[in-house]
Symmetry: C2
Subunit: 459 residues, 2 copies
């Protein structure tokens, strides 16, 4: 047995540090406690809100408590507020009216007082909308593409363009409003909000997400005859607000100018506490940075936690960081974003140059027992997306997202959806991967220049 | 083979009629279509509302179309209306405020303009409330008993007294208001309403159900310090309204004065369409009665469909029927209530005298393939409960209720929760059981007189 063991190559890392980082994350409960502070303590954090500003102050204080070098970097953010909202299917011959469970999409303009009333026209895709020609003019366009969870995928990537761009496309053809089926993998009549985008100077129309049940109701009613909906939205966009990214460094012992960036976003939607999106990611990144900062000896390179502002409705924080640090692209040796909920970690994602996987593999041994030592899935993230242009290697700790879109952007995104041990495992994996990236003698080779279409994640 | 078959006793029923009833219910789609008419066509049907009255008119028309002898029997019903509602945890030192997802309990008084604000005191049971002595005075009592689904039970029987009687008990000890954790087996931040009862002349306080997530939030916050809640409810009780039960007979060919009663309730809560509670039951009962009425030859006894009004918040319909027909207890040879959702049928429940099971067993053979020929579970129902005093035998087609309390009394009780084939199977089972009860030569033996505590089902 001794002979056999001696055959194994000595690991390139310190097993003591691995045990300390992984063991601490799995036992100290700090990640969950931080998620609780940000959700139960602060609550919703939409850009421009009091909650968002409280979150910035809280993060600065906590990073300071943790022994990191912390600063804020200013970001100008959109300031959209929701207001009252109400939708109803108007009564028709032989059928009563129906209240609709709906919520405005972020970025939507409000309706005039009294709302708008119009016939509904249902489409499954933007292409179908465009094929309607003049038939959508004056109508409320109802986008009813369901999320397919076939093949273990979430379907979000396929369906989210309808929410992001469908209303603007409907406005282009003269529609009066837009309703989008919630992007959700479970529903108990709870609509899921999210950003919708109108290009500068293009026409804007009121746009709301309806709950899955209400999408199915509209579909059924439309099969039997015309459906008229009244939509009243009190949302509006205020002048841009001053906010900030929070940047905290655990400076490296040998190459402090080389940076391993760990990102998550402080802002959240306004319907709930933003627990899985993205208090979980904030907690994971904070815990990884904290554990690394408190090691007896820092890793070679700097580990930098960046808590971005405005991921949800503008990406102003991600863009501002990339702009501010454009000259330091070469110093960013890796970036990892944690913005996929609180599920347990399942694999390592990598977007880097040739040979990166071989270089990283021996360092992943301490994650073998956690089941996270295999490569799989994309690495990226909405906030770090702009760094792709600087050819920063992306690394990801992929998580189980099978329940993520049950809660995402809805009122149900609350702390109870975070299972402490799942979150702790992800924090352990991120802490160790971050340490490895900061400690390995050679940095990861850089990826080829990105295609024109970015590599961002899900806003 | 022929010899073997000839060994089997000839069945006591007509296999052709069994095949016709079961086959029709499983293939004609009428039960689901009726459920759709009552939900998508009419919508919420709380007692006293326009929807409830529309449902009465609709049921009369449909029974007439189906060839039944139909009449309405007047019922005076409570008329409670909801109004605006809002709850919030007020900010405290080191923590922000939180909006609460809540909904008034039926029967609750409203709050004064501006709402009430008070400290929250959490209890798990009415006994714990009573042990508090004066500590609940002026407080908002928070009943946080969760529904246990252990052992395949729904937990509703154990938890529902908190909703029904907790607020009245809190009022007795001088509380200012009551919050009750929703009686729910799944939650996406959707509160579940239901009736709460204040005895005549006893003090009343505003009472609301909070979503499961909000109950957990209150629990977490209370572990860290005092929690003050502001509760604003616009609900109120109007004068009693005139309404009706709808009674439709398929008169028997030999003993028309002997009645097999099939019950369900037309009214629903106001938060949704009332699909599983109880459009499903209405559809099942209507389909059973329709199929029996349209047989070439009626069964011996009368099959009577009764669509009760006001099951949800007063049981006025059930009480009125029992009172109106008190002299005909002996003529009611069996009663079956369909008020447990749209799940598939799983067994036969029985509450009757000695020998009833043996008498019924040979008639259940046509349900063997559907998996419904075994006995199990209670028979009863809130509306037919008052008939227990008349010693009417109760028969039940038990259904799969594993998802029932995910939706029950919530905004998520919508048509999409009904799976057409599950509903069709239950309609088939009820149609056949009703036929059997009406056709078998000897009626079921009557049960012993009921215990003081009734045998009603869930309101």
């Amino acid at each position: 047995m001794l002979a056999l063991i001696s055959l194994l190559a000595a690991p390139p890392y310190s097993p003591e540090i691995a045990a300390r980082l992984v063991g601490s994350a799995l036992t100290d409960g700090v990640a969950y406690a931080r998620a609780a502070e940000l959700t139960d303590g602060i609550g919703p954090r939409l850009s421009g809100s009091a909650g968002a500003e409280a979150a910035v102050k809280w993060a600065v204080q906590r990073f300071r408590d943790d022994g990191l070098d912390v600063r804020t970097e200013p970001v100008k953010v959109p300031h959209w507020v929701r207001g009252e909202e109400r939708g109803e299917v108007l009564p028709a011959r032989n059928r009563s009216g129906h209240l609709l469970a709906l919520t405005a999409l972020g970025g939507s303009p409000g309706t005039p007082q009294g709302g708008i009333s119009a016939d509904v026209v249902e489409v499954r895709s933007i292409a179908e909308l465009q094929s309607l020609g003049d038939k959508a003019r004056g109508k409320i366009v109802f986008f009813n593409h369901s999320m397919s969870t076939a093949g273990g995928k979430t379907g979000y990537g396929e369906a989210s363009p309808l929410r992001n761009h469908g209303p603007a496309e409907a406005a282009k053809v003269g529609a009066a409003g837009a309703l989008v089926r919630s992007l959700a993998t479970a529903s108990l009549r709870d609509p899921h909000t999210g950003a919708t985008t109108f290009p500068d100077g293009a026409p804007k129309i009121p746009a709301a997400a309806v709950a899955v049940e209400d999408a199915e109701l509209l579909h059924r009613l439309l099969q039997r005859g015309p459906v008229q909906v009244r939509l009243g939205l009190g949302c509006r966009t205020l002048p841009d607000a001053d906010s900030a990214n929070v940047v905290a460094d655990a400076r490296g012992r040998e190459k402090p100018d080389e940076v391993v960036l760990l990102g998550a976003h402080l802002d959240s939607w306004d319907l709930a506490q933003g627990a899985v999106d993205d208090a979980a990611g904030v907690a994971v990144v904070m815990e990884a940075a904290r554990l690394i900062a408190q090691l007896p000896q820092r890793p070679r390179r700097t580990v930098r936690a960046v808590l971005f502002m405005n991921e949800e409705n503008g990406l102003a924080g991600g863009k501002a960081y990339a702009k501010e640090h454009a000259g330091e692209g070469g110093r960013h040796v890796a970036a990892l974003e944690s913005d996929a909920g609180a599920g347990r970690p399942i694999s390592i994602g990598l977007r880097a140059g040739e040979g990166a996987q071989a270089l990283l593999t021996p360092w992943l041994q301490p994650l073998e027992t956690l089941g996270v030592a295999d490569f799989g899935g994309e690495a990226g993230g909405a906030d770090i997306g702009p760094l792709a242009a600087l050819r920063v290697p992306f690394v990801g700790v992929q998580q189980d997202v099978s329940r993520y879109f049950d809660y995402h952007h809805s009122a149900a995104d609350t702390l109870d959806k975070i299972r402490p041990f799942d979150l702790a495992q992800t924090a352990a994996a991120v802490a160790w991967v971050a340490y490895a990236l900061a400690e390995m003698p050679d940095a990861l080779p850089r990826p080829a220049a990105p295609a024109a279409r970015g590599v961002g994640g899900r806003p």
